[in-house]
């Protein structure tokens, strides 16, 4: 069996081995309630807050105390479980998945020629049943395993025809390999959190649980009801929410549509927070440009249904009948 060190567990705290490590330390929930452990509770809370804002919690594993990294993950789960707010758990799972994704990618890449790939490959194989092997410094997986995951991505580069396929194997970079399992990693962490039962929590955790409930409220105030959106916009927002890479044309659709519905740049920009390449500065710049408040002053219009169809961004439903632009979606329905 593979021996995992504390550093590995700090990187991948969702592994079953992390629980075992904790049991071996003899630490229990009651003890964690002691004021001595307050920094860990604070760290855990911070980890959730960062995740809820759509960002990835970052830790320098070289300098930080790895025990507290692992413990803060466990305490974060306890806090989340006590607050019991699905959106927060989902956001946390996704952010933690993306954090682990980063380490997986590094571990794959750094060790690719050292034949020391046991850990990242074990995680990918044990958790998601994907067999990754190495050929000429590249990562290969079977066509079937590739297709099962890649069909959920919308970008053309993920189509099998745009991959190197030889002898039933698809060639991938380290980044692409872990990108392929991001959703599953998120779901795995989510299901792990869901499956945990906590009877009672130490008194000292209560304040932070209340803070999380308050945080989630603030959160839902700024959430827009995507059910009112046409299916193309709804789909694009869902892709963004899942933290997947929505193509430029899709982001343009979201921006122009919401601007046309009178939403402000401040209201729209948080929607892009989960995008893998999110940068607040660039998002604002782009939105300002599209809205006509900067640059040439041209206010860009929402793309037509026809254009969206050719870009594979159209997901028409019967309610779309008779409209030629997504902005007409609600209006037409009211007239009927």
């Amino acid at each position: 069996m593979l021996k995992l060190g504390i550093k590995d567990l700090a990187k991948y705290p969702f592994l079953t081995e992390a629980g075992e490590y904790l049991r071996n330390t003899g630490l229990n929930l009651e003890q964690l309630g002691h004021p001595d452990w307050k920094p860990i509770v604070e760290k855990a809370y911070g980890r959730i807050v960062v995740a809820s804002s759509g960002q990835i919690y970052n830790a320098d594993l070289e300098t930080l105390d790895n025990d507290s990294e692992l413990l803060s993950f466990i305490v974060a789960i306890i806090l989340l479980k006590s607050a019991s707010i699905a959106t927060l758990i989902k956001r946390f799972s996704l952010a933690e998945a993306r954090r682990a994704e980063k380490y997986l990618q590094q571990d794959l890449w750094i060790n690719r020629d050292k034949k020391n790939l046991e850990l990242p490959l074990k995680i990918i194989q044990d958790l998601f049943g994907v067999n990754v092997s190495i050929a000429n410094n590249e990562f290969v997986i079977s066509v079937q395993e590739y297709l099962r995951r890649a069909v959920h991505f919308h970008e053309k580069e993920w189509k099998l025809v745009n991959r190197r396929v030889v002898n039933g194997l698809v060639y991938l970079t380290a980044h692409e390999t872990v990108r392929l399992i991001r959703t599953e990693l998120g779901e795995y962490i989510n299901s792990k959190i869901q499956s945990i039962n906590i009877d009672s929590i130490p008194q000292s955790f209560n304040q932070r649980v209340q803070d999380l409930i308050a945080l989630a409220k603030k959160f839902s105030d700024t959430t827009y009801f995507s059910s009112e959106y046409p299916p193309c916009v709804k789909h694009a927002i869902e892709v963004l929410e899942r933290g997947e890479n929505l193509p430029h044309s899709g982001r343009f659709l979201v921006a122009t549509y919401l601007l046309s519905k009178g939403q402000s740049i401040d209201q729209i920009s948080p929607l892009f927070k989960n995008a893998p390449d999110y940068s607040e500065k660039i998002t604002r710049y782009q939105l300002e440009h599209i809205s006509g408040s900067s640059g040439s002053g041209t206010k860009y219009q929402c793309p037509s249904c026809e254009k969206l169809r050719s870009e594979n961004l159209c997901f028409a439903i019967p309610d779309c009948d008779g409209i030629i632009n997504p902005v007409q979606f609600g209006k037409k329905r009211k007239i009927q």
Partner: protein, 374 residues
């Protein structure tokens, strides 16, 4: 179809289904598959279970169906309604049909039959010369060229299946469809569990649909010769390289030219390549994991010929080997304005003539709607 034509065709089919048990077998794992059949002028009967050859032969003799089908899918309960069948997996299937290939010969053996009065014409008309109505059916008769073009597609498909997708030759069966093309079935455990979405992407791979220049080393800017594909590579990159560099190793001059022509030019080139190198299969068939597909050994009612296994594709002659109905002489009225060949014999053209021809040719014309029983 009119009653007396049905009687004649059914008689010929019955004889075949009574005498050719040697050619008609259930596929592997029959009890996990759904069977179905159709009778002339009647709807489809499906969700049937046929356990073995004996049950199949009995059904064919009893029902004399016009067409017989069997699922590519495997189910726990194949006889239950679709939602309760419990799908377990499916063979990969491909349909290559000459009518989907842009062949210049098509116009020479395609007829236009008035849907109202059955008058057949060689040239497309705006209205029927006999009754003046404007609805036509297109009918195509046997053509050697169509078959060789379809065979080429089969070979292209086989190459991708065996090299890119690593499906073993022994796992692939090639059948003549019984009319104008080929059905290919790959029984590969690895590919069996793939759902419809995955198969859609797989079929795009086979057809070379959706390829972008970036995948072949041409981006919108900053291209270098190193990222261009080379002819030794496997998969589409190698195939594209062999096309671009005409089988020679890539020369700096050629690579430079491709790069300087730019992104859009390369995109157009890929589109051209798609048309010639992509395999022209019917994507709907491959994507369908619940399809009931024509059963091998049974007769195709579009022609009266059988769907049969091609042991050697190169030498296979469908209009000889799949034409399996009797050759006793039958009288019919034929209205077939073009000539066709079956079993190395020429037939037609016939212009509403009373003729005596072997049964297989008579049934062929009746199935195509180009003649009537007397």
């Amino acid at each position: 179809m009119i009653e007396k034509n049905i009687t004649l065709i059914e008689g010929a089919f019955k004889e075949y289904y009574f005498n050719r048990h040697d050619l008609i077998h259930v596929p592997s794992r029959p009890i996990e598959r759904e069977f179905g059949f159709q009778k002339f002028n009647s709807g489809m009967i499906r969700h049937l279970v046929v356990r073995n050859d004996k049950e199949l032969h009995l059904m064919l003799m009893k029902e004399t169906p016009s067409d017989v089908y069997c699922s590519n899918g495997y189910y726990s309960f194949p006889n239950l309604p679709m939602s309760e069948k419990d799908w377990k997996g499916a063979d990969l299937i491909f349909d290559i049909d000459a009518k989907d290939l842009p062949l210049p010969c098509r116009k020479d053996h395609t007829l236009f039959k008035c849907s109202s009065c059955n008058n057949s014409m060689i040239e497309p008309q705006s209205q029927c010369s006999k009754c003046g109505l404007t609805k036509f059916e297109t009918i195509s008769v046997s053509c050697k060229n169509c078959i060789s073009a379809s065979k080429k597609e089969v070979k292209k498909l086989m190459e991708i299946l065996t090299t890119d997708l690593d499906i073993k030759k022994e796992e692939i069966e090639v059948y003549f469809s019984g009319n104008e093309g080929f059905h290919i079935r790959a029984k590969s455990i690895e590919y069996e569990p793939l759902g419809s979405h995955e198969r859609a992407d797989l079929v795009d791979y086979i057809m070379f649909n959706g390829a972008i220049p970036e995948s072949f080393g041409i981006g919108r800017q900053g291209n270098s010769k190193i990222s261009l594909p080379s002819i030794e590579e496997g998969g589409w990159r190698g195939r594209i390289a062999r096309n671009l560099f005409a089988l020679k190793a890539r020369t700096p001059k050629m690579a430079k030219e491709i790069i300087s022509n730019g992104y859009v030019a390369f995109q157009l080139r890929l589109e051209e390549i798609r048309k010639t190198m992509g395999v022209r299969v019917d994507p709907k068939v491959t994507m369908d994991i619940h399809r009931i597909f024509r059963l091998e050994g049974t007769i195709n009612s579009k022609s009266g010929m059988s769907k049969i296994l091609c042991k050697d594709l190169n030498s296979f002659e469908p209009f000889l080997e799949a034409c399996l109905l009797g050759d006793d002489i039958i009288e019919i009225i034929a209205n077939c304005p073009v000539q066709f060949r079956l079993k190395n014999k020429k037939f037609g053209p016939y212009n509403n003539e009373h003729i005596s021809v072997p049964k297989y040719a008579a049934v062929y014309m009746l199935c195509k709607g180009l003649g009537n029983a007397i």
